[in-house]
Amino acid sequence: MVLKKCILVLQDGKVFNGFSCGADGEAAGELVFNTAVFGYQEIVTDPATAKQLICFAHPHVGDCGFNNEDFQSGAVQAAGLFFKEYSKRYSNWRADGSMQDELLKENIVAMEGFDTRALIKYIRENGVQKAIVSTKDFDIDSLKAKLAKVEDYDKQDIVKTVTCSKKYFVNEDGQKQKIAVIDYGCPKSFLETFKSQGYKVMIFPATASTDEILAENPKGIFLSSGPGYVVNSQYAVDTIKEIIKKCPDMPIFAIGFGSQVLALANGAKVVKHKIGHRGANYPVRDINTNKIAITSQDNGYYADKSSIENSENLQVTHINLYDNTVAGFANKKGNAFAVEFYPSLDSDETGYLFENFFDMVEKNA
């Protein structure tokens, strides 16, 4: 029995000891937890989790291995991972390899064999905060000192580290209209959705200018999800503001980080959750239909409700039933709309959002 020690030190000094099940090394980031039972591969490869240390509530992780299809980006994005127990043997008919191999390949630190529920309860009570995980330095003061030098998550422009470097086409030969995707850290599955429906998809870096985007003459714009606090990415907000001004009828569909961009572009406020919404069981009510969808989310921030209600242009469309925060909003004309959760075209609960967007795109043609 060879166990390799691993330590997690939180900004406030709280320490958790466990064992390494990933790469050797050290990683710092914003410590959060995710309560989803399924989908660890999608979660850790979603660029929205960049610079985060993620603790999984579900005790077994790695059970289905990793497969080539479910990557949401080219790599593991999270900075560090925490499990009750990593499954040494994986089993699933689609698996192409183990999670651990991927972590080792990408130098991702992961810790297991400790009381993850205690950690989650700690985060629940004290809020998310910076933390550092290490497999080589066990001196708490030293780790604290290192952590102090790491810039606060809330102050970083993380989008810039995950967005594509230049614009590119997906499905150039698509039979349908062209959709512009602003890549703040767009998960692959959204691009696949557009492609599967026959749309031409032009993906732009988050830093793309209004002119660059409009020059491609898209019939709809998709503001993707992504990591971090939107106020640090003012350039992205300005671009969308300008687009709205120039093309007030342009269909815009925004998700997660994208929705926060849309909120700021319309003069609303974005604030931080104490612990965030990360999991697959968030009930959201559509105010128009009164129907409820159980949604997957990965949010640390949300559009402030009163700022939307008081804004000239916006109205709340979806409410999170756990805490009554805004889970979706739209402009009053209805051509620009946003949700905090991850919709899926295949889903009977949230697919209608894509369908609405596609209708608008077709009408805009």
Partner: protein, 1096 residues
């Protein structure tokens, strides 16, 4: 959409007696439903024939009918109560089938009663496989290839087009009765024939085999506004081919990705929609080919089920309660999740632990039956365990199963014995033999398979080898391998010191190993390991089941143990605090009756201002509902696990009287460890259990006892039997439900018994009693505080002494005993209760012969009959006993007139009848004997014995005929007494037929009786006429051990063709009375509340 106001009164249908496939889970769901609907202001009427349920307690429903679950009876209830709606989704298949019958007979339309929860259309679409297939295909989902057949010819054609192996499933049967897998043409013919017979509409589905595929289940709910939620996914460790009730299952599913989960979740919702399940919960099963991921829909249950009870316990979400509220019009978002209130119920629970369910079997009771598991359920109970990992949960679940294993491996029991021997011998030949056994056990599903994986690994098989043979997913096999690998580390504990020792022991505990296993592996005593653990501060913490993975604060107190850092339990400083130990998994002899008693203890002690702490590991039960006790610890019932909780909670005492033999077996060890046993002391328990001491007590009190002796080998046994004279009753000491008990008529038979019995007792003595032939057996339940005794009920058995009391019908009040005998029984009971200082309940069995009551046995604990007696006399015995246990005097609880002798008079007669699981166990003879075989019971209440017995029979599924031909076949000993019975049948207008000798004997005595051939006498013989349904009733008493082949064939054939069979003369006599009573008047129904009122 708020609740419906057009509905005022709702009738809930219960599930009737406990049978294989339908157990306590429906009491659990029914109780939730009644509580929820009453709270909403609805009037609730309940019908259920099972008295051993909490739901039939008079304080739950507004009107409770303990009546047979058949359309003509329920129609009477509808006429009387005029309910607006019937909620049929909480009473299992029984309630659904009854709802269908009520609809089809036009009863619902006639009385303008609506079905809520699931309407007729929905039930039909879900239950009729053909319609179901059509509907599921219409939404583009895949199903196994299949076809329907109504005769053999059609069946053969379908099988040809699919190719073997095929699965055969008869339509509309319970728990998969009659279904099976055919690998060959011969098997095919056999199963289809039986299936056509078992199906009430003679229809079988022949289906592509998905044997060895991954089996997945979803528990889902939908409301009126089409909001759907998935509560839980379940993955079967045993792949397709084993009924899910017989499979080891885990929650959540472990080997599917988010994409696959999203698909089965959405498919489930789409199935709810297309089937028209508008408001309520359902269970949907899928199979997935592990090679290519092809996913097919298997079936749907449009109701709460065993799986939904499991899902409720696994996630903390009360499915039955929410389902009931959806049925009256609420939507999910209008309801709160009690656990994380104010959060709404429109969410999906998430878990931060792992859940395992393991079924419990009773094959040892059905010696000759096939123990291979298949598509028809055979298990009689189950246990569930929660742990932070699969490994921890698995070992806890095995421990909770009470099969002499305190975890995975290390104990030399069951299948391990033979394999250990072979492995220890170490020769190549032995190894080869071991490998053969292991391979065979892996290849065919059976209840030992899980334990055999350990040996497969030890013999060098790889995880993939094992998967290839048994198709248990590699993930599970590898988890087991990790346990086995850790097992080899255990001996190192005492080689290490300091932190290293602590680290290793802690990890071993995290892998779920018990102190006992560690003791075995290290050659220490369990107590030493416990002491070391405490010294090193390796003690469990308790985590909360909170539906949300720790994201929100939870309001409930439902815990499981694990070896981690942080404890979620808040220990109150309340002084008045008691721990109540449950009964563990259901088994034959220990079932819902004991959970009923435990729940009563909780309710009663709560009322007395105590904090109640429930410990149990049976997910089906009311006792493990999170809002029954103040705190629920979902833990195995072992000394280690119970003491750990006691160390934490420091209760004033522990209640061991109510959970059957399970907690009683722990009493001495718990007491020794310093835990106070409430009520009857350990010394008193021992006094009743120890034969020698007990005999002395009886002598002192002048209570007659059948001659008896104790033997440890054949020679001794022979001597004793000779001295007291055959026939004798033999059994091992310390057993429940008459396990391995037999009536032995001669020496040869005695020798066979002893040679077989070593396995059961292991060094413990064998008890030999004089068997009192043809005596009347009496059961007495009494409450005592050591001074005053309240005799709650004296029950007279219908079957003669020698038939296990749990298998015998009985009647209260007694109907043939003389006043003298009753007086003697009362005296003995009172004297004995005082002498052994019973504080709480006691059950005594007597056999009355020639006017003398002989005491057979006394148990100073709650008995199986406590709920029946409580309901009969309207005193909640277990509740009163709980109060006695905390120091109240019986005289303060019971009116003075009933103390020390006077029985409470009741104006009606109550009959308890049992249900037997014969149909589940092929090739087993259906005779009753001293070993208990029944799974459940029903109660018939009416004005007189005949009517009450008729109701009890009807409720147990026996429809007594009113005319036709009765076949009588009697054992030698019964001939003369049978004459009277034949005469009565003829007087009632039946024709009687009999085999040669019996017929001759009857004719000699002036009866007009026709003769029928025995099997070897040519055709048509008796089996032929039974198969042709030319007889309507059979009286067949066994003719002893030898030459009973004809009797066996008669009994099995009767079973197959559903012809009422009476195997004792006493039952025949009672049946005659019932037929007579039924003829004189139509059924009448009466709520127990009305009975009680009239009685006062």
């Amino acid at each position: 959409m708020p609740k419906r106001t057009d509905l005022k009164k709702i009738l809930i249908i219960g599930s009737g007696p406990i049978v294989i496939g339908q157990a306590c889970e429906f009491d659990y769901s029914g109780v939730q439903a009644i509580k929820a609907l009453k709270k909403e202001g609805y009037k609730v009427v309940l019908v259920n024939s099972n008295p051993a349920t909490i739901m039939t307690d008079p304080e739950f429903a507004d009107a409770t009918y303990i009546e047979p679950l058949v359309p003509e009876i329920v129609e009477k209830i509808i006429e009387k109560e005029k309910p607006d709606a019937i909620l049929p989704t909480l009473g299992g298949q029984t309630a659904l089938n009854l709802a269908v019958a009520l609809a089809e007979k036009g009863i619902l339309a006639k009385h303008n009663v609506e079905l809520i929860g699931a309407d007729f259309d929905t039930i039909s679409k879900a239950e009729d496989r053909k319609l179901f297939k059509k509907m599921v295909e219409s939404i583009g989902l895949d199903l196994p290839k299949s076809g329907y057949a109504y005769n053999m010819k059609e069946a053969r054609e379908i099988a040809e087009s699919i190719g073997f192996p095929v699965i055969i499933r008869p339509s509309f049967t319970l728990g998969g009765v009659g279904s099976g897998t055919a690998w060959t043409k011969e098997e095919f013919e056999e199963i289809v024939q039986a299936g056509l017979q078992a199906s009430p509409i003679s229809e079988v589905l022949i289906e592509e085999s998905v044997l060895g595929w991954k089996e997945l289940e979803m528990e889902v709910m939908r409301d009126r506004k089409d909001n759907c939620i998935a509560i839980c996914s379940i993955e079967n460790v045993d792949p397709m081919g084993v009924h899910t009730g017989d499979s080891i299952t885990v929650a959540p599913a472990m080997t599917i990705t988010a994409k696959e989960y999203a698909k089965i979740r959405q498919d489930s919702f789409r199935i709810l929609r297309v089937i028209g399940m508008r408001h309520g919960g359902a269970n949907i099963q899928f199979a997935q080919n592990p090679k290519d991921g092809r996913l097919v829909v298997i079936e749907m249950n449009p109701r709460v089920s065993r799986s939904s009870a499991l899902a409720s316990k696994a996630t903390g979400l009360p499915i039955a309660k929410i389902s009931s509220l959806l049925a009256v019009g609420y939507t999910l978002d209008e309801l709160t999740n009690d656990i994380t209130a104010p959060n709404p119920a429109s969410f999906e629970p998430t878990v931060d632990y792992h859940v395992i369910k393991i079924p419990r079997f009773a094959f040892e009771k059905f010696g000759d039956t096939n123990t291979t598991l298949g598509t028809a359920m055979k298990s009689v109970g189950e246990t569930m365990a929660l742990g932070r990992t699969f490994k921890e949960a698995l070992q806890k679940a095995i421990r909770g199963l009470e099969v002499k294993r305190s975890g995975y491996g290390l104990e030399n029991v069951g299948v391990d014995k033979e394999l250990n021997k072979l492995l220890e011998s170490g020769t190549e030949e032995a190894k080869k033999k071991a490998l053969e056994i292991v391979t065979a056990k892996l290849a065919t599903p059976n209840c030992d398979r899980i334990y055999v994986i350990r040996y497969a690994l030890k013999l060098g098989m790889s995880v993939d080898d094992i998967f290839n043979i048994c198709k248990i997913d590699q993930w599970f096999v590898n988890q087991i391998k990790e346990i086995v690998d850790m097992e080899t580390e255990i001996p190192n504990i005492f080689k290490l010191k300091g932190e290293d020792q602590k680290l290793l022991l802690r990890r071993i505990k995290q892998y779920g190993f018990s102190d006992k296993q560690i003791a075995i592996a290290t050659g220490k005593k369990e107590e030493e390991i416990r002491a070391l653990r405490k010294e090193l501060n390796i003690i469990p913490v308790y985590k909360l089941v909170d539906t949300c993975g720790g994201e929100f604060k939870a309001n409930t107190a439902y815990y499981y143990s694990t070896y981690e850092e942080e404890d979620d339990v808040v220990v109150s400083d309340k002084k008045k605090k008691v721990m109540i130990l449950g009964a563990g998994p259901n088994r034959i002899g220990q079932g819902i009756e004991f959970d009923y008693c435990c729940v009563h203890a909780v309710l009663s002690l709560k009322q007395e201002g105590y904090e109640t702490i429930m410990v149990n590991c049976n997910p089906e039960t009311v006792s493990t509902d999170y809002d029954t006790a103040d705190k629920l610890y979902f833990e195995p019932l072992t000394v280690e696990d119970v003491l750990n909780i006691a160390d934490k909670e420091k209760p004033e005492g522990v209640v061991v009287q109510f959970g059957g033999q399970t907690p009683l077996n722990l009493a001495a060890a718990l007491n020794k460890a310093g835990l106070k046993i409430l009520g009857t002391s350990v010394e008193s328990i021992d006094m009743a259990e120890d034969r020698k001491i007990f005999s002395k007590v009886l002598k002192k009190l002048n209570i007659p006892q059948a001659d008896s002796g104790t033997a440890t080998n054949f020679e001794e046994a022979k001597e004793i039997a000779k001295k007291i004279g055959y026939p004798v009753m033999v059994r091992p000491s310390y057993v429940l439900g008459g396990r391995a008990m037999e009536i032995v008529y001669d020496e040869e038979h005695l020798e066979t018994y002893i040679s077989k019995a070593t396995d059961v007792t292991e060094g413990k003595p064998i008890l030999i009693d004089k068997y009192l032939d043809n005596a009347i057996e009496i059961d007495v339940d009494a409450l005592s505080d050591g001074k005053d005794v309240y005799i709650a009920g004296i029950m007279e058995h219908i079957e003669q002494a020698g038939i296990h009391s749990g298998d015998s019908a009985c009647v209260l009040p007694t109907h043939t005993l003389s006043k003298d005998v009753i007086t003697k029984i009362k005296e003995h009971t009172i004297n004995l209760a005082r002498e052994i200082n019973v504080k709480g309940l006691m059950n005594i069995q007597y056999a009355v012969k020639n006017g003398i009551p002989y005491l057979l046995e006394a148990n100073p604990r709650a008995s199986r009959t406590v709920p029946f007696v409580s309901k009969a006399v309207s005193y909640p015995l277990a509740k009163l006993a709980s109060k006695v246990m905390i120091g109240k005097a019986v005289k303060d609880l019971i009116p003075a007139e009933y103390l020390n002798g006077q029985l409470k008079h009741i104006d009606y007669t109550c009959v308890k009848e049992v249900v037997l699981p014969w149909i589940r166990f092929a090739n087993v003879d259906t005779v009753l004997g001293p070993e208990m075989k029944s799974t459940g019971e029903v109660m018939g209440i009416d004005k007189d014995f005949g009517k009450a017995f008729a109701k009890a029979e009807l409720a147990s599924g026996t429809i007594l005929p009113d005319n036709g031909t009765v076949f009588i076949s009697l054992g030698q000993r019964d001939k003369s007494k049978g004459l009277e019975i034949a005469k009565d049948f003829i007087d009632l207008g039946f024709s009687v037929i009999a085999t040669k000798h019996t017929a001759e004997f009857f004719r000699e005595n002036g009866l007009d009786v026709k003769e029928v051939h025995k099997i070897q006498e040519g055709r048509p013989n008796v089996v032929d006429i039974i198969s042709n349904k030319e007889v309507c009733l059979i009286v067949n008493t066994p003719s002893g051990q030898k030459g009973h082949h004809d009797g066996y064939s008669i009994r099995r054939t009767a079973l197959m063709y559903g012809i009422p069979l009476l195997t004792t003369l006493a039952a025949a006599r009672a049946s005659i009375e019932a037929i007579r009573a039924k003829r004189n008047s139509d059924w009448e129904v009466c709520a127990i509340q009305t009975h009680y009122k009239l009685d006062k």
